[in-house]
């Protein structure tokens, strides 16, 4: 039996093996992916991004708790950086989520960037497809800790959540291009720290000054204290609101089209690069 057939029959190990084959760029992986592709497209994909140490993993852990109470199954892709010198990596996002590891309704996979820029690994989109085919209702993608310009998540997720923490610079940081433009939702985490209100004010002012978005969505801001579970219900509610809005408009279809185009260009890019390097 092929990996794809085993995955569609619910075999966890087959799924994790295909993910490895995808990540390691094994030639058979594409064939297997083709076979599961018709079973994808049902999951709701949430991206969580933000600076290192802002609490992304802890936020993911707490939102998963809510999704599980609603009896939704969850896949998590957590990306951490690869050392540019040794090629090694320490993948530690799981530490904050390990309590979900024995829950059959949750599948967590850690990935290293392996030199990819943009906040995700090259394999992320395909690994999401495997989780989608496994039947996960919700897939959460946690990017590496990002600075200003790593915004690939916007092409991967249906809803992008940008996590910020107080005390990371003055208001000029808030008007620069990049990460602040991609948030459908903002979580001001560690909100019990000094400066949370000011950050919220600055963020609100920045968003109000921004031109009206193409999808007519006004980004929401939530204050959270992930470690204590504060503000998580509100955050999840915000995700659902964004999803509803997305589904109700033709913007969703357009987003899917754009994403497919983007994925195609990514594949083209990497295959071309490999062909040139090999020749």
């Amino acid at each position: 039996m092929s990996l794809a057939e085993e995955i569609l029959r619910g075999d966890i190990r087959a799924a994790s093996r295909l993910m490895r084959d995808i990540d390691d760029r094994m030639p058979n992986a594409m064939e297997e992916l083709k076979k599961i592709y018709p079973k994808t497209g049902n999951a709701y994909i949430i991206g969580i991004t933000g600076p290192p140490g802002s609490g992304k993993s802890t936020l993911v852990d707490k939102t998963v708790e809510i999704f599980r109470k609603e009896e939704k199954t969850v896949g998590i892709v957590a990306v951490d950086p690869t050392s540019p010198f040794t090629g090694g990596a320490i993948l530690g996002d799981r530490i904050r989520m390990q309590r979900h590891s024995i829950d059959d309704g949750v599948f967590i996979r850690s990935l290293a960037t392996r030199g990819n820029l943009g906040g995700l690994s090259r394999s992320t989109n395909d690994i999401i497809k495997v989780m989608d085919a496994m039947g996960k209702d919700i897939i959460i993608v946690e990017t590496v800790g990002v600075g200003q310009d790593e915004v690939d998540i916007v092409n991967t997720a249906h809803t992008s959540v940008v996590v910020l923490v107080p005390g990371q610079g003055d208001d000029i940081q808030a008007i620069k291009a990049g990460i602040l433009e991609i948030g459908d939702i903002f979580a001001i985490n560690k909100c019990e720290r000094e400066g949370a209100d000011r950050l919220e004010g600055e963020l609100r002012a920045t968003l109000e000054m921004s031109p009206k978005r193409e999808d007519d969505w006004t980004p929401l801001i939530f204050k959270t204290e992930a470690l204590l579970g504060k503000g998580i219900f509100e955050l999840v509610y915000g995700m659902y609101r964004h999803r509803e809005k997305l589904m109700a408009s033709d913007h969703f279809e357009r987003k899917i089209l754009e994403r497919t185009k983007w994925e195609f260009l990514c594949i083209l890019d990497s295959e071309l690069r490999d062909t040139i390097v090999e020749s």
Binding site: G87, A89, Q98
Partner: protein, 135 residues
């Protein structure tokens, strides 16, 4: 495509002891050797470790124990891997482990046991010799 298999290792701390300096140093050493290291954090049950190892498709699990419950915890991980049909994952261990326990652990399927004083280089070399990324 240019295929590239990387060694993936999970470093895990089963049981109740709360000191993971050693585990972190080993994890760091593996990173510097070019492996992808999944670190699970403290206070893990064997069930959690095995579930995570399967989801992460690791080639090997390194268990660290300083608190004396290795006699139960290490073999239990091997047993659970077998139950799940994942006994191709190589288990090794390290920590404060009395000499007389080592052969028992080996018999239980722990491939190697490292005790205090082992250099990181030796551990890395052992991994390179004994753990191959799966086909």
């Amino acid at each position: 495509m240019s295929p590239e298999r990387k060694i993936r290792i999970m470093v895990a701390k089963p049981g109740l002891n709360g000191h993971d300096r050693g585990a972190k140093i080993i994890a760091r050493g593996f990173r510097d050797a070019g492996f992808e290291v999944i670190y699970t954090g403290l206070h893990q049950t064997p069930e959690q470790i095995v579930a995570a190892a399967i989801e992460e498709d690791v080639d090997s699990i390194g268990l660290s124990s300083l608190a004396g419950a290795h006699d139960y915890l290490f073999p239990r991980v091997v047993e659970l891997l077998k139950e799940k049909g994942a006994d191709d994952i190589v288990v090794f261990g390290g920590g404060i482990i009395p000499e007389e326990d080592i052969s028992k652990l080996r018999d239980a399927g722990i491939k190697e046991v490292f005790t205090p004083g082992t250099s990181i280089g030796d551990t890395v070399n052992w991994v390179r010799r004994n753990i191959k990324p799966r086909k």
